[in-house]
Symmetry: C2
Subunit: 246 residues, 2 copies
Protein backbone atom coordinates (compact mmCIF):
# COMPACT_ATOMS: atom_id res chain seq x y z
CA UNK A 1 0.00 0.00 0.00
CA UNK A 2 1.09 3.52 -0.67
CA UNK A 3 1.41 6.47 1.66
CA UNK A 4 4.21 8.10 3.57
CA UNK A 5 4.55 6.81 7.14
CA UNK A 6 5.09 9.15 10.07
CA UNK A 7 6.34 7.85 13.41
CA UNK A 8 6.13 9.12 16.96
CA UNK A 9 7.44 7.49 20.12
CA UNK A 10 6.27 8.34 23.65
CA UNK A 11 6.42 6.95 27.12
CA UNK A 12 2.75 6.87 28.16
CA UNK A 13 2.29 9.73 30.67
CA UNK A 14 -0.09 9.65 33.65
CA UNK A 15 -2.58 12.02 32.07
CA UNK A 16 -3.35 9.65 29.20
CA UNK A 17 -4.32 6.68 31.39
CA UNK A 18 -7.41 5.56 33.31
CA UNK A 19 -7.75 4.39 36.89
CA UNK A 20 -6.32 0.98 35.85
CA UNK A 21 -3.19 2.60 34.42
CA UNK A 22 -4.28 1.66 30.88
CA UNK A 23 -4.31 4.27 28.14
CA UNK A 24 -7.89 5.53 28.06
CA UNK A 25 -9.74 5.38 24.74
CA UNK A 26 -10.59 9.12 24.73
CA UNK A 27 -6.98 10.06 25.45
CA UNK A 28 -5.65 7.52 22.97
CA UNK A 29 -7.71 9.18 20.24
CA UNK A 30 -6.50 12.66 21.30
CA UNK A 31 -2.94 11.42 21.07
CA UNK A 32 -3.38 9.77 17.65
CA UNK A 33 -4.79 12.95 16.14
CA UNK A 34 -1.84 14.80 17.61
CA UNK A 35 0.50 12.41 15.77
CA UNK A 36 -1.29 12.88 12.45
CA UNK A 37 -1.09 16.65 13.04
CA UNK A 38 2.67 16.32 13.37
CA UNK A 39 2.81 14.78 9.90
CA UNK A 40 0.66 17.55 8.45
CA UNK A 41 2.93 20.20 9.97
CA UNK A 42 6.03 18.48 8.61
CA UNK A 43 4.83 18.70 5.01
CA UNK A 44 5.80 21.52 2.69
CA UNK A 45 3.19 22.94 0.33
CA UNK A 46 -0.39 23.98 0.83
CA UNK A 47 -2.42 22.91 3.84
CA UNK A 48 -6.19 22.35 3.98
CA UNK A 49 -6.53 25.83 5.51
CA UNK A 50 -4.81 27.35 2.46
CA UNK A 51 -7.76 26.05 0.42
CA UNK A 52 -10.25 27.43 2.96
CA UNK A 53 -10.98 23.88 4.14
CA UNK A 54 -10.62 22.02 7.39
CA UNK A 55 -10.27 18.31 8.02
CA UNK A 56 -13.01 16.58 9.97
CA UNK A 57 -13.26 12.98 11.09
CA UNK A 58 -16.23 10.97 9.87
CA UNK A 59 -15.50 7.54 11.29
CA UNK A 60 -13.07 5.56 13.40
CA UNK A 61 -12.60 1.80 13.44
CA UNK A 62 -10.46 0.40 16.25
CA UNK A 63 -8.94 -3.04 16.79
CA UNK A 64 -7.29 -3.49 20.16
CA UNK A 65 -5.13 -6.41 21.28
CA UNK A 66 -3.91 -4.67 24.40
CA UNK A 67 -4.02 -1.08 25.59
CA UNK A 68 -0.66 0.57 26.35
CA UNK A 69 0.12 0.94 30.05
CA UNK A 70 1.39 3.94 32.01
CA UNK A 71 5.17 4.25 31.68
CA UNK A 72 5.30 1.94 28.66
CA UNK A 73 7.17 3.18 25.59
CA UNK A 74 5.09 2.89 22.45
CA UNK A 75 5.67 3.74 18.83
CA UNK A 76 2.85 5.02 16.65
CA UNK A 77 2.97 4.80 12.88
CA UNK A 78 0.43 6.71 10.84
CA UNK A 79 -0.09 6.70 7.12
CA UNK A 80 -2.82 8.02 4.81
CA UNK A 81 -2.95 5.13 2.33
CA UNK A 82 -5.65 6.22 -0.05
CA UNK A 83 -8.34 8.74 -0.80
CA UNK A 84 -11.36 9.18 -3.03
CA UNK A 85 -13.49 12.20 -3.90
CA UNK A 86 -14.80 12.66 -0.41
CA UNK A 87 -12.71 10.72 2.07
CA UNK A 88 -9.09 10.16 3.01
CA UNK A 89 -8.31 6.96 4.91
CA UNK A 90 -5.60 7.13 7.51
CA UNK A 91 -4.32 4.17 9.50
CA UNK A 92 -2.62 4.23 12.86
CA UNK A 93 -0.57 1.34 14.24
CA UNK A 94 0.57 1.42 17.85
CA UNK A 95 3.38 -1.02 18.69
CA UNK A 96 5.20 -1.95 21.88
CA UNK A 97 8.95 -1.90 22.32
CA UNK A 98 9.36 -5.34 20.73
CA UNK A 99 7.55 -4.09 17.64
CA UNK A 100 4.40 -6.12 18.38
CA UNK A 101 1.17 -4.51 17.29
CA UNK A 102 -0.96 -3.40 20.26
CA UNK A 103 -3.77 -1.74 18.39
CA UNK A 104 -4.73 -0.23 15.07
CA UNK A 105 -7.18 2.49 14.13
CA UNK A 106 -8.53 3.50 10.74
CA UNK A 107 -9.84 7.04 10.55
CA UNK A 108 -11.90 8.40 7.66
CA UNK A 109 -11.28 12.09 7.15
CA UNK A 110 -13.24 14.50 5.00
CA UNK A 111 -12.80 18.15 4.07
CA UNK A 112 -15.28 20.79 5.11
CA UNK A 113 -15.44 24.15 3.38
CA UNK A 114 -16.18 27.50 5.00
CA UNK A 115 -19.93 26.84 4.70
CA UNK A 116 -19.38 23.62 6.65
CA UNK A 117 -20.21 21.50 3.62
CA UNK A 118 -18.12 18.59 2.35
CA UNK A 119 -15.57 19.53 -0.29
CA UNK A 120 -13.78 17.43 -2.88
CA UNK A 121 -10.26 16.52 -1.72
CA UNK A 122 -7.68 18.32 -3.91
CA UNK A 123 -5.21 15.94 -5.59
CA UNK A 124 -2.22 18.01 -4.55
CA UNK A 125 -3.28 17.98 -0.91
CA UNK A 126 -3.77 14.21 -0.67
CA UNK A 127 -0.65 13.39 -2.65
CA UNK A 128 1.58 15.31 -0.26
CA UNK A 129 0.87 12.41 2.14
CA UNK A 130 1.71 9.89 -0.59
CA UNK A 131 -1.96 8.83 -0.76
CA UNK A 132 -3.21 6.99 -3.84
CA UNK A 133 -6.45 8.03 -5.50
CA UNK A 134 -9.15 5.40 -5.80
CA UNK A 135 -12.50 5.87 -7.50
CA UNK A 136 -14.17 3.41 -5.19
CA UNK A 137 -15.86 4.64 -2.04
CA UNK A 138 -15.11 2.24 0.79
CA UNK A 139 -18.04 0.38 2.30
CA UNK A 140 -17.02 0.58 5.92
CA UNK A 141 -19.34 -1.27 8.28
CA UNK A 142 -21.59 1.08 10.23
CA UNK A 143 -22.34 0.74 13.91
CA UNK A 144 -25.97 -0.03 14.63
CA UNK A 145 -28.24 1.18 17.41
CA UNK A 146 -31.91 0.28 17.56
CA UNK A 147 -33.56 3.08 19.54
CA UNK A 148 -36.84 1.09 19.69
CA UNK A 149 -35.14 -1.40 22.00
CA UNK A 150 -34.78 1.23 24.70
CA UNK A 151 -31.58 2.15 26.49
CA UNK A 152 -29.91 0.86 29.64
CA UNK A 153 -28.75 4.34 30.63
CA UNK A 154 -28.89 7.89 29.31
CA UNK A 155 -26.61 10.59 30.67
CA UNK A 156 -26.66 14.27 29.89
CA UNK A 157 -23.50 16.27 29.28
CA UNK A 158 -23.30 19.99 28.68
CA UNK A 159 -20.50 20.94 26.31
CA UNK A 160 -17.87 22.68 28.42
CA UNK A 161 -15.81 25.67 27.41
CA UNK A 162 -12.63 23.62 27.40
CA UNK A 163 -14.20 20.90 25.22
CA UNK A 164 -13.95 23.26 22.25
CA UNK A 165 -10.66 23.24 20.41
CA UNK A 166 -8.93 25.93 18.45
CA UNK A 167 -10.99 25.07 15.35
CA UNK A 168 -14.17 25.91 17.24
CA UNK A 169 -15.28 22.27 17.31
CA UNK A 170 -15.78 19.81 20.09
CA UNK A 171 -12.65 17.69 19.98
CA UNK A 172 -13.72 14.20 18.77
CA UNK A 173 -12.12 12.57 21.79
CA UNK A 174 -14.91 13.97 24.00
CA UNK A 175 -17.49 11.83 22.18
CA UNK A 176 -15.65 8.75 23.42
CA UNK A 177 -15.76 10.13 26.94
CA UNK A 178 -19.51 10.89 26.73
CA UNK A 179 -20.18 7.43 25.31
CA UNK A 180 -18.05 5.26 27.55
CA UNK A 181 -18.82 7.15 30.76
CA UNK A 182 -22.46 5.99 30.51
CA UNK A 183 -21.36 2.38 31.08
CA UNK A 184 -21.37 1.16 34.70
CA UNK A 185 -18.00 2.11 36.15
CA UNK A 186 -17.56 -1.41 37.52
CA UNK A 187 -17.98 -2.71 34.00
CA UNK A 188 -15.32 -0.30 32.71
CA UNK A 189 -12.92 -1.39 35.45
CA UNK A 190 -13.29 -5.07 34.67
CA UNK A 191 -13.52 -4.97 30.87
CA UNK A 192 -11.35 -3.74 28.06
CA UNK A 193 -12.23 -2.71 24.51
CA UNK A 194 -11.53 -5.30 21.81
CA UNK A 195 -12.89 -3.31 18.92
CA UNK A 196 -14.88 -0.20 18.24
CA UNK A 197 -16.62 1.62 15.43
CA UNK A 198 -17.79 5.21 15.76
CA UNK A 199 -19.56 7.27 13.11
CA UNK A 200 -19.79 11.05 13.43
CA UNK A 201 -22.89 12.32 11.69
CA UNK A 202 -23.25 15.95 12.64
CA UNK A 203 -21.07 18.08 14.83
CA UNK A 204 -21.89 19.07 18.40
CA UNK A 205 -21.44 22.79 18.98
CA UNK A 206 -20.51 24.94 21.95
CA UNK A 207 -23.14 25.19 24.69
CA UNK A 208 -25.24 22.28 23.41
CA UNK A 209 -26.61 19.64 25.75
CA UNK A 210 -25.65 16.13 24.74
CA UNK A 211 -27.74 13.04 25.47
CA UNK A 212 -25.55 9.97 25.56
CA UNK A 213 -27.56 6.75 25.55
CA UNK A 214 -26.21 3.22 25.81
CA UNK A 215 -27.41 -0.35 25.26
CA UNK A 216 -25.31 -3.13 26.71
CA UNK A 217 -25.90 -6.58 25.28
CA UNK A 218 -24.40 -10.00 25.85
CA UNK A 219 -24.17 -12.19 22.79
CA UNK A 220 -22.30 -15.47 22.53
CA UNK A 221 -20.12 -14.64 25.49
CA UNK A 222 -19.29 -11.21 24.09
CA UNK A 223 -20.34 -7.89 25.57
CA UNK A 224 -21.35 -5.30 23.01
CA UNK A 225 -22.19 -1.71 23.88
CA UNK A 226 -24.15 0.42 21.44
CA UNK A 227 -24.15 4.19 21.78
CA UNK A 228 -26.20 7.08 20.51
CA UNK A 229 -25.19 10.71 20.93
CA UNK A 230 -27.97 13.19 20.24
CA UNK A 231 -28.88 16.81 20.92
CA UNK A 232 -32.60 17.63 21.27
CA UNK A 233 -33.47 14.33 19.59
CA UNK A 234 -31.18 14.92 16.63
CA UNK A 235 -28.63 12.15 16.05
CA UNK A 236 -25.01 13.32 16.08
CA UNK A 237 -22.94 10.15 16.43
CA UNK A 238 -23.41 6.40 16.86
CA UNK A 239 -20.95 3.76 17.93
CA UNK A 240 -20.50 0.18 19.01
CA UNK A 241 -17.76 -1.38 21.07
CA UNK A 242 -16.96 -5.04 21.73
CA UNK A 243 -15.57 -5.78 25.18
CA UNK A 244 -13.74 -8.59 26.87
CA UNK A 245 -12.96 -9.27 30.51
CA UNK A 246 -9.76 -7.51 31.47
Amino acid sequence: MSGISWFDTIRVPYFLVDVQGRMSIPQLMTYLIYVSGQQTESLPGKSAEDYGFSWIIIQYELEVKRLPMIGETIETETVAHEYNRIASYRDFYVRDQSGDLLLSVTASFALMNEDRKLARIPKELAEAYGSTYTRKLRRTPKPTVDADQGFDATHEYRVRYFDIDENGHVNNAHYFSWMLDTLPHDFLKTHTVQSGNILFEKEVRADEIVQSAVQLEQKEGQNISRHLISCKGEERAIAEFVWEKA
Copy 2:
Protein backbone atom coordinates in the same frame (compact mmCIF):
# COMPACT_ATOMS: atom_id res chain seq x y z
CA MET B 1 17.46 29.21 46.89
CA SER B 2 18.19 25.54 46.97
CA GLY B 3 16.66 22.70 45.01
CA ILE B 4 17.56 20.78 41.88
CA SER B 5 15.98 22.19 38.74
CA TRP B 6 14.35 19.97 36.15
CA PHE B 7 13.62 21.22 32.65
CA ASP B 8 11.20 20.18 29.93
CA THR B 9 10.67 21.74 26.52
CA ILE B 10 7.56 21.26 24.38
CA ARG B 11 5.87 22.78 21.41
CA VAL B 12 2.33 23.46 22.67
CA PRO B 13 0.09 20.82 21.03
CA TYR B 14 -3.53 21.39 19.96
CA PHE B 15 -4.94 19.33 22.81
CA LEU B 16 -3.55 21.66 25.48
CA VAL B 17 -5.17 24.83 24.13
CA ASP B 18 -8.58 26.47 24.30
CA VAL B 19 -10.76 27.85 21.51
CA GLN B 20 -8.52 30.96 21.38
CA GLY B 21 -5.41 28.84 20.82
CA ARG B 22 -4.09 29.77 24.29
CA MET B 23 -2.91 27.05 26.65
CA SER B 24 -5.93 26.34 28.85
CA ILE B 25 -5.48 26.59 32.61
CA PRO B 26 -6.71 23.02 33.27
CA GLN B 27 -4.36 21.60 30.65
CA LEU B 28 -1.48 23.80 31.79
CA MET B 29 -1.80 22.31 35.28
CA THR B 30 -1.96 18.77 33.87
CA TYR B 31 1.21 19.45 31.94
CA LEU B 32 3.09 20.97 34.89
CA ILE B 33 2.35 17.96 37.10
CA TYR B 34 3.60 15.77 34.27
CA VAL B 35 6.90 17.69 34.31
CA SER B 36 7.31 17.33 38.07
CA GLY B 37 6.56 13.61 37.64
CA GLN B 38 9.44 13.39 35.17
CA GLN B 39 11.80 14.72 37.86
CA THR B 40 10.48 12.22 40.40
CA GLU B 41 11.03 9.36 37.96
CA SER B 42 14.56 10.53 37.21
CA LEU B 43 15.65 10.30 40.84
CA PRO B 44 17.33 7.24 42.26
CA GLY B 45 16.40 6.10 45.76
CA LYS B 46 13.08 5.60 47.47
CA SER B 47 9.87 7.12 46.17
CA ALA B 48 6.86 8.24 48.23
CA GLU B 49 5.18 4.93 47.32
CA ASP B 50 8.09 3.02 48.87
CA TYR B 51 7.11 4.62 52.19
CA GLY B 52 3.44 3.76 51.61
CA PHE B 53 2.69 7.44 50.92
CA SER B 54 1.38 9.40 48.00
CA TRP B 55 1.86 13.06 47.10
CA ILE B 56 -1.21 15.26 47.04
CA ILE B 57 -1.51 18.91 46.11
CA ILE B 58 -2.89 21.29 48.73
CA GLN B 59 -2.61 24.63 47.01
CA TYR B 60 -1.59 26.33 43.79
CA GLU B 61 -0.67 29.97 43.31
CA LEU B 62 -0.37 31.18 39.72
CA GLU B 63 1.04 34.39 38.24
CA VAL B 64 0.47 34.76 34.53
CA LYS B 65 1.99 37.38 32.23
CA ARG B 66 0.89 35.63 29.06
CA LEU B 67 -0.43 32.16 28.32
CA PRO B 68 1.59 30.09 25.83
CA MET B 69 0.02 29.78 22.38
CA ILE B 70 -0.54 26.73 20.18
CA GLY B 71 2.64 25.85 18.28
CA GLU B 72 4.83 27.96 20.56
CA THR B 73 7.93 26.32 22.03
CA ILE B 74 8.12 26.75 25.79
CA GLU B 75 10.56 25.65 28.43
CA THR B 76 9.36 24.69 31.88
CA GLU B 77 11.67 24.69 34.89
CA THR B 78 10.53 23.08 38.10
CA VAL B 79 12.29 22.98 41.44
CA ALA B 80 11.23 21.96 44.95
CA HIS B 81 12.98 24.71 46.91
CA GLU B 82 12.04 23.90 50.48
CA TYR B 83 9.95 21.77 52.76
CA ASN B 84 8.75 21.62 56.34
CA ARG B 85 7.09 18.90 58.40
CA ILE B 86 3.94 18.84 56.35
CA ALA B 87 4.49 20.59 53.04
CA SER B 88 6.93 20.67 50.15
CA TYR B 89 6.93 23.81 48.01
CA ARG B 90 7.57 23.40 44.32
CA ASP B 91 7.89 26.22 41.84
CA PHE B 92 7.29 26.08 38.11
CA TYR B 93 8.57 28.71 35.67
CA VAL B 94 7.37 28.65 32.08
CA ARG B 95 9.49 30.67 29.65
CA ASP B 96 9.25 31.49 25.98
CA GLN B 97 11.98 30.89 23.43
CA SER B 98 13.75 34.15 24.33
CA GLY B 99 13.91 33.05 27.95
CA ASP B 100 11.25 35.55 29.09
CA LEU B 101 9.05 34.39 31.91
CA LEU B 102 5.47 33.74 30.78
CA LEU B 103 4.05 32.42 34.02
CA SER B 104 4.97 30.90 37.34
CA VAL B 105 3.16 28.53 39.65
CA THR B 106 3.89 27.57 43.23
CA ALA B 107 2.42 24.24 44.30
CA SER B 108 2.24 23.06 47.91
CA PHE B 109 2.47 19.30 48.13
CA ALA B 110 1.80 17.09 51.13
CA LEU B 111 2.13 13.37 51.78
CA MET B 112 -0.85 11.17 52.48
CA ASN B 113 -0.46 7.79 54.13
CA GLU B 114 -2.50 4.67 53.39
CA ASP B 115 -5.23 5.84 55.79
CA ARG B 116 -5.45 9.05 53.74
CA LYS B 117 -4.04 11.11 56.62
CA LEU B 118 -1.20 13.61 56.29
CA ALA B 119 2.24 12.16 57.01
CA ARG B 120 5.49 13.85 57.98
CA ILE B 121 7.76 14.30 54.96
CA PRO B 122 10.83 12.02 55.33
CA LYS B 123 14.12 13.95 55.14
CA GLU B 124 15.63 11.51 52.65
CA LEU B 125 12.67 11.87 50.31
CA ALA B 126 12.71 15.69 50.24
CA GLU B 127 16.48 15.95 50.00
CA ALA B 128 16.59 13.85 46.86
CA TYR B 129 15.07 16.93 45.18
CA GLY B 130 17.71 19.15 46.81
CA SER B 131 15.02 20.74 49.02
CA THR B 132 16.06 22.58 52.17
CA TYR B 133 14.28 21.93 55.45
CA THR B 134 12.69 24.90 57.14
CA ARG B 135 10.92 24.83 60.52
CA LYS B 136 8.58 27.62 59.49
CA LEU B 137 5.23 26.82 57.95
CA ARG B 138 4.54 29.24 55.11
CA ARG B 139 1.62 31.58 55.49
CA THR B 140 0.31 31.44 51.96
CA PRO B 141 -2.64 33.73 51.30
CA LYS B 142 -5.92 31.85 51.11
CA PRO B 143 -8.61 32.48 48.54
CA THR B 144 -11.85 33.80 50.03
CA VAL B 145 -15.44 33.09 49.13
CA ASP B 146 -18.34 34.51 51.10
CA ALA B 147 -21.22 32.09 50.57
CA ASP B 148 -23.63 34.55 52.26
CA GLN B 149 -23.25 36.90 49.29
CA GLY B 150 -24.89 34.37 46.98
CA PHE B 151 -23.50 33.09 43.71
CA ASP B 152 -23.80 34.28 40.14
CA ALA B 153 -23.97 30.72 38.82
CA THR B 154 -23.84 27.16 40.11
CA HIS B 155 -23.22 24.22 37.81
CA GLU B 156 -23.34 20.55 38.64
CA TYR B 157 -20.75 18.08 37.39
CA ARG B 158 -20.78 14.36 37.94
CA VAL B 159 -17.32 12.88 38.30
CA ARG B 160 -16.69 10.87 35.14
CA TYR B 161 -14.89 7.57 34.92
CA PHE B 162 -12.02 9.13 32.98
CA ASP B 163 -11.62 11.95 35.55
CA ILE B 164 -10.05 9.42 37.93
CA ASP B 165 -6.35 8.90 37.51
CA GLU B 166 -4.20 5.87 38.23
CA ASN B 167 -3.95 6.86 41.92
CA GLY B 168 -7.72 6.58 42.26
CA HIS B 169 -8.11 10.37 42.68
CA VAL B 170 -9.76 13.00 40.59
CA ASN B 171 -6.88 14.63 38.76
CA ASN B 172 -6.51 18.17 40.19
CA ALA B 173 -6.73 19.69 36.74
CA HIS B 174 -10.46 18.84 36.62
CA TYR B 175 -11.15 21.24 39.50
CA PHE B 176 -9.94 24.06 37.28
CA SER B 177 -12.27 22.90 34.53
CA TRP B 178 -15.27 22.69 36.92
CA MET B 179 -14.48 26.14 38.30
CA LEU B 180 -13.73 28.08 35.14
CA ASP B 181 -16.50 26.48 33.06
CA THR B 182 -19.11 28.15 35.32
CA LEU B 183 -18.02 31.57 34.05
CA PRO B 184 -19.93 32.98 31.06
CA HIS B 185 -18.22 31.59 27.98
CA ASP B 186 -18.13 35.07 26.43
CA PHE B 187 -16.22 36.25 29.48
CA LEU B 188 -13.71 33.41 29.09
CA LYS B 189 -13.22 34.27 25.42
CA THR B 190 -12.50 37.93 26.12
CA HIS B 191 -10.50 37.66 29.34
CA THR B 192 -7.33 36.01 30.44
CA VAL B 193 -6.14 34.93 33.88
CA GLN B 194 -3.62 37.26 35.55
CA SER B 195 -3.32 35.34 38.79
CA GLY B 196 -5.00 32.52 40.63
CA ASN B 197 -5.03 30.84 44.01
CA ILE B 198 -6.68 27.48 44.60
CA LEU B 199 -6.89 25.60 47.85
CA PHE B 200 -7.82 21.91 47.90
CA GLU B 201 -9.49 21.02 51.17
CA LYS B 202 -10.86 17.55 50.78
CA GLU B 203 -10.71 15.22 47.83
CA VAL B 204 -13.57 14.55 45.45
CA ARG B 205 -14.13 10.84 44.91
CA ALA B 206 -15.39 8.71 42.05
CA ASP B 207 -19.12 8.99 41.34
CA GLU B 208 -19.63 12.12 43.46
CA ILE B 209 -21.70 15.03 42.22
CA VAL B 210 -19.81 18.31 42.32
CA GLN B 211 -21.45 21.71 42.80
CA SER B 212 -19.30 24.42 41.32
CA ALA B 213 -20.43 27.91 42.36
CA VAL B 214 -18.97 31.21 41.20
CA GLN B 215 -19.08 34.87 42.19
CA LEU B 216 -17.83 37.39 39.66
CA GLU B 217 -16.96 40.81 41.01
CA GLN B 218 -15.58 43.99 39.50
CA LYS B 219 -13.27 45.95 41.78
CA GLU B 220 -11.14 48.90 40.77
CA GLY B 221 -11.26 47.90 37.11
CA GLN B 222 -10.28 44.32 37.92
CA ASN B 223 -12.46 41.28 37.48
CA ILE B 224 -12.19 38.76 40.26
CA SER B 225 -13.89 35.38 40.19
CA ARG B 226 -14.37 33.45 43.43
CA HIS B 227 -15.13 29.74 43.32
CA LEU B 228 -16.48 27.13 45.67
CA ILE B 229 -16.44 23.41 44.91
CA SER B 230 -18.64 21.34 47.20
CA CYS B 231 -20.30 17.94 47.35
CA LYS B 232 -23.60 17.69 49.24
CA GLY B 233 -22.84 20.99 50.96
CA GLU B 234 -19.36 19.92 52.07
CA GLU B 235 -16.59 22.26 50.95
CA ARG B 236 -13.88 20.58 48.85
CA ALA B 237 -11.95 23.43 47.26
CA ILE B 238 -12.01 27.21 47.00
CA ALA B 239 -10.27 29.51 44.58
CA GLU B 240 -10.00 33.01 43.29
CA PHE B 241 -8.76 34.28 39.94
CA VAL B 242 -7.96 37.79 38.78
CA TRP B 243 -8.74 38.49 35.12
CA GLU B 244 -7.83 41.08 32.55
CA LYS B 245 -9.23 41.83 29.12
CA ALA B 246 -7.47 39.66 26.56
